[in-house]
Assembly symmetry: D2
Homo-oligomer: 309 residues x 4
């Protein structure tokens, strides 16, 4: 089942799935172009009960093994201030590095490079000390509202979770679609559940090897390209780690999606509640709304994606 590509084969595969030039040489939105107005209107028509599920972890303010640099959250004013006349309100401050393994966030297309290039061939030098001058997260300014589709891989494997280091292959995606009676298609936000957070809660963060992640094998890239998904998300970081490839191909899914196809990634989405909801409802498609912050020149954004049923 598992194809073991050579580095050359991966490089060839990356060329094959490229969307560079597909929406013009100046395009910075990539596969977001698959989300048409009609696609959004159709996503809204999926709403029946009006129930919601948030896919966001709380912002992690405490350090842990997989979160060495937690969010700094400090108070500016509060109700326990000494001078009563001033205590009319409370305010706070937070400092965050959205990337990594602890924050639910969107990766901008400028987050990853391959051979000195980012999506659509822009030079990686377009990201400098002022931030990203191309393909920054603010291309998602209008939100990423579309149909969301969940594929619950542990469910179809009869497991509680996919073990860190275990790869998901196109056959798994096909099997999940058959089981869930859903087909991922053009403009969809595709969410892959690995059960990572169920494992983490069951065994504790300390029991999980640093750097090991369940995720998609490189052979899924062609599947994603064929289906024309707009955005890919996961409760891990989409790539299986270790991937079996060395740098700079250490994360072929990141390279294939962000750089070649222009597919934004959602990392560290909390999918346990969503999976339960989908199983209970017997449907795995829903209206989906991640609304990243408008951080011009940003390489990503923390987000609170919400599924609406």
């Amino acid at each position: 089942m598992a194809v073991k590509y050579t580095t050359e084969q991966i490089a060839a595969l990356l060329e094959k799935v490229s969307n560079w030039g597909r929406w013009g040489k100046d395009d910075q939105r990539g596969a977001l172009n698959f989300i048409s107005n009609e696609k959004r209107a159709a996503a809204a028509r999926l709403v029946q009960s009006g129930e919601t599920v948030s896919l966001s972890l709380p912002l992690a303010t405490r350090p842990s093994r997989d979160n060495p640099r937690p969010v700094t959250h400090l108070m500016i004013r509060s109700g326990v201030i000494g001078h009563p006349l001033e205590s009319s309100g409370a305010a706070d401050y937070f400092a965050i590095e959205p990337h990594g393994l602890a924050t639910t966030h969107l990766d901008a297309l400028c987050h990853h490079f391959w051979r000195g290039r980012m999506y659509n061939g822009f030079d990686m030098g377009e990201v400098d000390f002022q931030g990203a001058h191309k393909c920054a997260i603010d291309v998602c300014r209008e939100g990423v509202i579309s149909r969301g589709v969940l594929l619950d891989i542990p469910k179809i494997r009869g497991a509680e979770w996919i073990e860190p280091g275990d790869a998901i292959h196109p056959e798994d995606l096909d099997a999940a679609e058959r089981d869930h009676r859903v087909t991922a298609g053009e403009g969809d936000v595709l969410l892959i559940r690995t059960g990572r957070f169920k494992l983490r809660r069951t065994k504790g963060a300390g029991a999980i090897a640093l750097g090991a992640m369940p995720g998609l094998h490189a052979s899924c890239l062609e599947w994603l390209h064929r289906r024309r998904v707009a955005v890919l998300g996961s409760d891990a970081i989409s790539d299986v780690l270790p991937s079996g490839y060395d740098a700079p191909l250490r994360m072929p899914i990141h390279t294939g999606t962000l750089v070649m196809m222009g597919i934004h990634l959602i990392d560290n989405a909390e999918l346990e509640g969503l999976a339960e909801k989908c199983a209970r409802e017997g449907r795995y498609a829903f209206m989906f709304n991640p609304l990243p912050l408008v951080l011009e020149r940003g390489t990503g954004s923390p987000a609170n994606p919400v599924a609406l049923f």
Copy 2:
């Protein structure tokens, strides 16, 4: 037209519009309770064309007269790193104080106090150095998805904008509803356009008196209470400033909404594009999605609210 309340009258008015206890003594969600599943489903049914409008200002990383403490945005890695093998991606960091006059954000109910209390009678001491132990912004975890209604006050006054310091009265809200053929009701997110950002762009930030803001007069509190709106937003900060009242009643709309009614506020929403869209479409109601970050114990969150038509 303008009622000039005494401080005692304001205090009595605040008691009159109180929702304390309305949803139980432990409730921390306030008027969000007006947003039922059915309300959300109905909001989704408003979607026709699938077009979107973002109401978020870009995160303001440069200081200005009304933004003395801008967002700190710094790069962690980029494409111009010295060591080529490591330059496989870019990442950044930002630090933000969401409140103030420069960031599009939601105010949590714990953001404001009155006589030592926050919404539902919780003691202001519940906000301490660890943050807010009651009424934090994470009560909006599932998003604030509902029907949005825009009332464009400059339009009905035949002006380009409301001057800073000019108050909006219930009669203005009624007139706008008549003009727009819309009626704000239970569970709606009500957005009040003052044209602040049109003024700011036309005359420059330096031309606007510090501390002066167009906004609602205290006499609107009963109107808001009667209509059972869930959330109130504005392109300013909802209160007219100066309000004519001294501390601690300096911002009676903040006190009446956040503390007494449990109505979350959206401050500094960019409503120019939305107003143009509404005028063009001839409709002032739409599906509305602000999805604040899940910052447990936070007093507010930056947000990118998006209207869907």
Copy 3:
């Protein structure tokens, strides 16, 4: 040798060593008052060779077991910026929480409270959201220049280091003075070496129990009081931990020095190089210069104390 005080005995001891009122009821400088101009001039006369030893750890920008919230150090500009014309220089940014176990820093007298009070009886409410309105670190604005005296406890015990949790008693201080032919006296900066960083480098940070520290037993308070030392420093945090006492007496040395005697503390000083130098020179007194930053309302400051021989 080890006295085991009851809580009541400690409380009585704290009263006994109190310097409250000694320099007037408004005094915020505490035992810094022991450093006269003549004391500083005498310290300068100690200088012979002009050789220097820094007692500062590098600011710790990586997380470790004893440094969960490391310094954030990010670049604003650098030599690898994309736009050549702008690359005339480099600049950076750092964010720091000086207290804790990882940064060489001075504790301001406002850093610690006892029964709601700080040094000289000031109410702990004087430290609020704006910072410390009394006894802030800027009382050290003119520097803490004086005679420094090192007492090397492992040396007189014939050990490489004092084990975490092991207490140092007045007898140890006396023995070290005899061995080193030095007597700590009025206005001195007294530095106690425990060998903590030798242990940490030998065994690794992971091998040391969290919360265990070598340090002074409460019975040293009277010794310190009698000697009229101005400032106390250590390569740990002066208190032995666990101290054998529960909160709020968990750190009796902190309480006795900062709160009762008005003695500033230097935590996490790197004393390995200094100890080698003192042993080589056969002298344990030197000119000492910690110059904390002038952070008005600050509760402490990172510092680079330098000993001059």
Copy 4:
């Protein structure tokens, strides 16, 4: 009196004052090498009364015209915390960009580039996203203890301050030396008073043209080189601004000192108190101690330099 160099002449002058290679091709300490142990010992022998003067501005936590990005100072714990049992102490956090016009700081040699190079010919690419791999501020780890010499330029011109934009020439330095009966020499820390902070306090920050600074004319470079000063400081930023030269030669004193001679700079030193002290004492030389923080890879450090008389 004022020489107007052409750009070519400046470039030639820069070559002439170069210390590249003087202390070996790997040297990163530059003119700090002029401070010998004997120099430090001699500096200590200058101490007579033991009186001290701090040259540090308080860290500026409020924005002003010349401080658009002030220090962020926030509290982590304080005496007004809600839960009494935890209120045993106070701690804080600060975030700082040391460079600019508001913080008393040392510039590391890596802070400035000229034709792609920093001091001793190191490539500017040695400063990347990890910080400075060469010539970082931690080369000052042992402090910059030496003789300090103040030249009070307004005094010898009979003015209260030097106007922003007015240049100081070698003749001024010579005249000040004669007046003060002092001669700057090898290894000295030379401090140039312009009276900038007297002007700022008298007229207000708003009255001073942005970007205009009193300071040394490029013709002083040879003087500095001849005298072999180790460090140069000022109550402004050493360069007169506008300098009359365009980028990249906009700050020829920065280029000549940091890049060519390897002279560290002290910017924004508060020299009013020092000038009064020197005038009162009738002596302009003293023991000088700036002890920058040990920020490995840092491009500078806030500092509290203290003069000892």
